[in-house]
């Protein structure tokens, strides 16, 4: 690092690359979660265009449980904080 804490070009590349990977990871997680909870919660009959009460609460719980699973797996992989914290 240069003095006064200004990051060097290489450090900047590093920070930049890490940020990009974290973003890509989050997007991937969000997409998988969205598709999985759609399959688990939304009825395939498509009788109407709105989500009903049952579907909505199923979605909320599905997201919460999915989140817990990422936490459990993150801990198992040896970091107290999963990649996305």
């Amino acid at each position: 690092m240069a003095s006064k804490g200004a990051p060097s070009a290489a450090d900047r590349e590093q920070i930049f690359g890490m940020a990009q990977q974290e973003m890509e990871y989050r997007v991937d997680l969000f997409n998988k979660l969205t598709q999985t909870c759609f399959d688990k919660c939304v009825e395939r009959k498509y009788k109407e265009a709105d989500l009903n009460v049952g579907e909505n609460s199923c979605i909320d719980r599905c997201v919460a449980k999915y989140w817990q699973v990422t936490g459990i797996v993150g801990q198992m992989l040896g970091s107290n904080r999963p990649p996305m914290g």
């Binding site: 973003m23 997007v27 909870c37 939304v42 979605i59 919460a64 989140w67």
Partner: protein, 90 residues
């Protein structure tokens, strides 16, 4: 990634970072669009005896797409709350 890391970056890098984020968001929404189409097509279109959608298939696709979008927005809100460590109740 700590907030501090970003602060240490010069202006041009902050700009580059926000360009990257914009880029990923566009890519993300295009991907979402593609998986919505795939899913609703798979769920709604079963017959291939004609090459145009019949009325029933079209209605199914529209409802499916609308539901998927609403679902996706709801997931997005919940996801943001959890990312910010919001307390959860059963």
């Amino acid at each position: 990634m700590e907030a501090a890391d970003f602060e240490a970056l010069p202006e041009e890098d902050k700009h580059r970072m926000s360009t990257m984020i914009d880029h990923l968001q566009v890519r993300d929404s295009l991907k979402m669009y593609n998986s919505l189409v795939e899913r609703c097509f798979c769920h709604c279109v079963e017959s291939f005896r004609r090459k145009t959608l019949d009325k029933q298939e079209e209605t199914c696709v529209k409802r499916c797409a609308e539901k998927y979008l609403k679902h996706s927005m709801r997931v997005s809100m919940r996801f943001a709350e959890l990312n910010q460590g919001a307390p959860t109740s059963d």
